[in-house]
């Protein structure tokens, strides 16, 4: 941003704290929403015993997970088993800090920005944190010293590394069009011109498919295919350590949806309603699509997944970036 922002640390810190907790709350109620939604799509009721409409279910789940026995595999590496979910959870939460969800508000002499931080390399930072998050899964699976865990973490690793390439290439088109790697700049640029979902439609499709694979969501949930691998990398996990892996997975989905809203759907921009509300509405729509796909499509086979990633998605993403670059240069 070119204008100087007067935002002292005593605004920054509480805001960051608030955002972290809001994202965690969003995660808790995503589990409820997903169970309800899946249940309705499968002609069931879903959770409806704890509180009205089962609304207190996430809290009951949390209490249950925390009070469970904390066990460790006998032959595992304890320190790494404990640290792995922490790494996964941290990187998932930290990525959200660069996603903008509102404009700049001015109160007196001070500014309050609608993002935790705006860095010149926002897009790359999210991918870098995401690639560090893989370590949580692979180290957790390896340290458990179990064949199922190891195979699960190997699958996670191969899948995430493969699809990360397509994901990054899909974003390249947007970066070329906006001329910036800062997510705030990208969102502002779209509010001034048009949403990139139009000109970058191919990029959007590739991003969405690769995003589903990157967050290990069905139909790409090979790392935890229960019919083959029990539960994949978290087979030997229980209680809140498992809960933290689950947290990381859902928060990754939230961050990815937020990234998609920012890159392709104009961020917080929209008529009438305040920015954060627009952001939330768009976020909910994207997350609904994630859940809808989970309820609709069966799981792929592993070789199909890899072939699709490298032989279909990657060439399409590369071509999209190339064509975008040529058009942008030609128009200039």
């Amino acid at each position: 941003m070119s204008q100087t922002i007067n935002q002292p640390w005593w605004i920054d810190l509480p805001k960051a704290f608030l955002i972290v907790n809001l994202v965690l709350l969003l995660f808790a109620y995503l589990t409820w929403t997903e169970r309800k939604l899946l249940a309705r799509m499968q002609l069931r009721y879903g959770p409806n015993r704890v509180g009205p409409f089962g609304l207190l279910q996430p809290i009951a789940d949390l209490v249950k997970l925390i009070r469970k026995e904390s066990f460790l595999p006998l032959t595992g590496v304890d320190l790494l088993i404990v640290m792995a979910p922490v790494v996964a959870g941290f990187t998932a939460l930290a990525s959200f800090s660069v996603i903008p969800w509102g404009p700049i508000w001015t109160i007196g002499d001070y500014h309050i920005t609608g993002w935790v931080t705006d860095v010149s390399i926002g897009v790359i930072l999210i991918f870098a944190l995401g690639s560090l998050g893989i370590y949580g899964f692979i180290v957790g699976g390896w340290a458990s010293d179990s064949k199922y865990s190891l195979l699960g973490s190997m699958r996670t690793c191969a899948q995430m590394v493969s699809y990360e390439v397509s994901l990054a290439l899909a974003v390249l088109g947007v970066v070329i069009m906006s001329g910036s790697l800062s997510l705030v700049d990208i969102a502002v640029k779209q509010q001034e011109t048009i949403w990139f979902a139009g000109p970058q439609f191919v990029g959007l499709l590739v991003f969405f498919v690769a995003g589903v694979a990157e967050t290990n969501r069905p139909p790409f949930d090979l790392p935890e295919a229960e019919s083959e691998l029990v539960a994949g990398y978290h087979t030997e996990y229980g209680g809140m350590r498992w809960g933290l892996f689950q947290t990381a997975e859902y928060i990754n989905m939230i961050t990815l949806s937020g990234l998609m809203v920012t890159l392709f759907f104009g961020g917080w921009g929209g008529p009438g309603l305040p920015g954060p509300l627009w952001f939330l509405i768009k976020l909910a729509a994207v997350i609904f699509a994630f859940m809808w796909i989970r309820a609709t499509l069966p799981r792929l086979r592993y070789d199909q997944l890899m072939r699709f990633g490298w032989k279909v998605l990657l060439p399409v993403a590369t071509l999209n970036a190339l064509v975008t670059a040529i058009i942008v240069v030609a128009v200039d």
Partner: protein
């Protein structure tokens, strides 16, 4: 980070982060060599690359720092871990001792690094190093790095890409040859059975 550096030369926070990152860098580098379990060595290598990224941040090279984490820690070390975990890295490899020439090389390398450090310290004392004022605000930005790659050093950049491409093709050919040999071996007995 640019702001941090620009405020005062004796900024305490920058110094604390610098010392922490530099010590972590040395400690993790030692750990890479000293761990007998290759899986731990790979994890230490990741820590090493991470602390190097922090040092990059301190000299305002944000893009390089993020790219470092993304490419090296995110892709290359993950592949190391992948291979090590597949090969069963849990069993500690026995220490067989080093051949003579590698200890000679180690001594030479340490002496070279020591000389380098001494030269750097002496030069900075005599004021021969460029000072912070000569570094513009654009230093280390994606735009500046892109300009360096695609305007000033285009030839080197393209040559690098060709070398990487050759390496990739070479890997594919080697892997393909091994696979063909395996296939041929697997087919021979079945052909005998048919005959």
């Amino acid at each position: 980070m640019t702001v941090l550096l620009a405020s005062t030369a004796g900024n305490v926070l920058v110094w604390i982060i610098w010392v922490g990152a530099a010590l972590a860098l040395l400690a993790s580098a030692l750990a890479v060599v000293l761990f007998s379990n290759p899986f731990y060595s790979a994890l230490a290598l990741m820590a090493n690359l991470g602390s190097l990224a922090v040092l990059y941040l301190l000299i305002s090279a944000e893009f390089v720092a993020a790219a470092q984490v993304l490419v090296y820690a995110g892709a290359i070390v993950v592949l190391f871990l992948f291979v090590i975990a597949y090969l069963g890295g849990r069993a500690d490899a026995p220490w067989t001792g080093v051949p003579k020439f590698s200890s000679v090389a180690a001594v030479v390398a340490s002496v070279a690094i020591a000389v380098e450090v001494i030269v750097a310290v002496v030069v900075s004392w005599t004021g021969g190093l460029p000072n912070a004022a000569e570094i513009t605000a654009a230093f280390g930005s994606p735009r500046e790095i892109g300009r360096l790659f695609l305007a000033d050093h285009l030839l080197a950049f393209e040559v690098t890409s060709i070398i990487l491409f050759v390496a990739a093709v070479g890997g594919a050919v080697l892997g393909g040859a091994a696979r063909r040999a395996e296939k041929a071996e697997a087919q021979t007995p079945s052909e005998e059975e048919n005959g």
